[in-house]
């Protein structure tokens, strides 16, 4: 068995003195897709924030076996974890192209940058049309595309996405998930996906972790989760 790309053991997180996560265990396999499911306030966003070092956290977090639990957000990003935060994290006053260039900011090797830009624009042709436009004027869906593209330009080994479907029209959601699948398949980028839309997430994921009030309530293969009655009734709605 190969080392998972990301492994969290006993992950705890805190907002000030309030504990928000209680000993979470989960993994993301190399080139795999793990979905974090759960209701509002269960701790999904908090989990991503803890992994990125944006909030106080404890526990054993490993990227390809290397402990990253004590590193700063900047260093974690530089090691190859790209985090598309909730709200998309757009640099609203900068242009689309500047937003994208920031994704590649830490890359030492700028040789393939042009190719990478072309690849990103092939995924999202709309961004190419708007490259000189101020990013704050993009629609929600376009900003989500921009956030994903910015993350892809980091050349990450793990891409963490916080509710990429949030607030988007169904057609836009479909397009974005199609491209996430392509990024996973063609570029070998592992995904850790936080989603409220469980059925969408389970279609893309191979593993799923169900979080309730900051604890892992259930985890397993996406197929097993999908056929589990309690998950189906509570999160899939049929």
């Amino acid at each position: 068995m190969t080392t998972p790309i990301l492994e969290a053991k006993g992950l705890k997180a805190y907002y000030g003195s309030a504990q928000a996560l209680f000993d979470l265990d989960f993994t993301v396999e190399e080139k795999g897709v793990t979905a974090l499911l759960g209701a509002n306030g269960a701790g999904k966003t908090t989990t991503l924030r803890a992994l990125s070092g944006l909030i106080a956290r404890e526990g054993d977090i490993r990227l390809r076996g290397k402990p990253i639990g004590a590193l700063s957000t900047e260093d974690i990003a530089r090691l190859g974890i790209a985090h598309v935060p909730d709200g998309r994290g757009t640099f609203v006053d900068l242009t689309v192209e500047e937003n994208l260039r920031l994704g590649a900011f830490t890359r030492v090797d700028k040789k393939d940058l042009k190719l990478d830009f072309e690849r990103v624009f092939a995924y999202f042709p709309r961004l190419a049309e708007r490259r000189r436009q101020q990013a704050g004027t993009l629609s929600g869906g376009e900003q989500q595309m921009l956030a994903i593209s910015r993350a892809v330009l980091m050349r990450p080994s793990l891409l963490m996405l916080d509710e990429p479907s949030f607030g988007l029209a169904p057609m836009m959601v479909e397009e974005i998930f199609r491209i996430l699948a392509a990024i996973n398949r063609d570029e070998g980028v592992s995904l850790l996906l936080v989603e409220q839309n469980a059925s969408l997430a389970l279609d893309l994921a191979d593993h799923a972790v169900l979080i309730e009030t900051g604890r892992v309530a259930m985890s397993g293969s996406a197929a097993a989760m999908r056929s589990d009655d309690s998950v189906r009734m509570a999160y899939l709605g049929y």
Binding site: E74, A77, P85, V92, R101, L102, T106, R150
Partner: protein, 290 residues
């Protein structure tokens, strides 16, 4: 008419100094939403450093370059050692730190160099340039240097990856960290740049207003008035405001209130702008959601 043009021209010369000083204020304001009240005293201290180098025989441009570099490093060090520990403190604490810094530099300059007024050389001496009878050579040179600084700063922020990263860090620190930008260092770099720009402002102002430990007190006030007038969140507005305040100050000082009370012009501008147009001429109106 001649007298009027003369006043206008020398207003532009000092206005250039105010403009780049305002730019230094804006640079730190954009990243931290704080006005560095020590910016003037830091610039004054840098100017003494340049004066001391020249006093020991350095050529002007050598001393100029060395002062800019040392001021940059000094600004960097001040952010790292003094300002940083208060990054998460309430606004008032930071303001007290800035005022403390201003007092320290003022006292240090007095202690090291004395309180008597000294004259600082200018690299632009001799006959007025281009047959321009309304401006001395130094005034022309100061305007050119100010414009050059503005152009360089613009090019740096607009066209270099580091400049882009600094803009990003000021705008959205969290997203910046998530793409691997070391936001803390970007802030320190901002302080270094502001200190370097302030040093240039000081060196350009000194031959006009003469150097003593309180030289930059008035200059900072005019620069602040310029920044507020143009819009403190807009570098170009602030630079424009600096030039405008320089000209206004000179004209109103000469024809309306008299030279002794012209500092009140700056205060009137600050209060007037804050009352009637708080975001300044080119600033963005901030709407806070409650």
């Amino acid at each position: 008419m001649n007298e009027f043009l003369h006043q206008l021209a020398s207003g532009l010369a000092l206005g250039g100094v105010y403009a780049i000083m305002a730019l230094a204020l804006v640079m730190i304001y954009q990243a931290t939403q704080l006005v560095n009240f020590a910016q003037g005293e830091m610039a004054m201290f840098s100017t003494y450093f340049a004066w001391k180098l020249m006093d020991t025989g350095w050529p002007y441009w050598g001393a100029f370059a060395a002062t800019v570099v040392v001021s940059f490093l000094g600004g960097l060090a001040i952010e790292r050692l003094v300002v940083r520990p208060f990054a998460k403190a309430p606004v008032l604490s930071s303001i007290i730190v800035f005022i403390g810094l201003a007092l320290i530099f003022n006292a240090l300059a007095g202690w090291l160099y004395g309180y008597s007024v000294v004259t600082v050389d200018t690299p632009f001496s001799g006959r007025p340039w281009f047959g321009n009878v309304y401006m001395s050579a130094h005034e022309s040179g100061a305007v050119l240097v100010s414009l050059a600084v503005l152009a360089l700063v613009y090019a740096f922020f607009r066209f270099t990856p580091l400049g882009l990263a600094m803009r990003a860090a000021a705008q959205n620190p969290t997203s910046s960290r998530l793409v691997g930008i070391r936001v803390g260092w970007m802030l320190a770099l901002g302080w270094g740049l502001a200190a370097a720009i302030g040093a240039i402002a000081g060196m350009m102002a000194a031959p006009i207003v003469y150097l003593d430990p309180n030289m930059m007190g008035g200059v900072l006030l005019y620069a602040f008035a310029g920044a507020v007038l143009g819009g403190i969140d807009n570098p170009f507005g602030a630079a424009f405001g600096g030039f405008a305040v320089g000209v206004l100050e000179n004209l109103i000082g000469a024809y309306v209130v008299g030279a002794e009370t012209k500092l009140s012009v700056a205060l009137a501008i600050i209060i007037g702008v804050l009352v009637w147009r708080p975001s300044g001429l080119f600033g963005r109106r901030l709407v806070a959601r409650v």
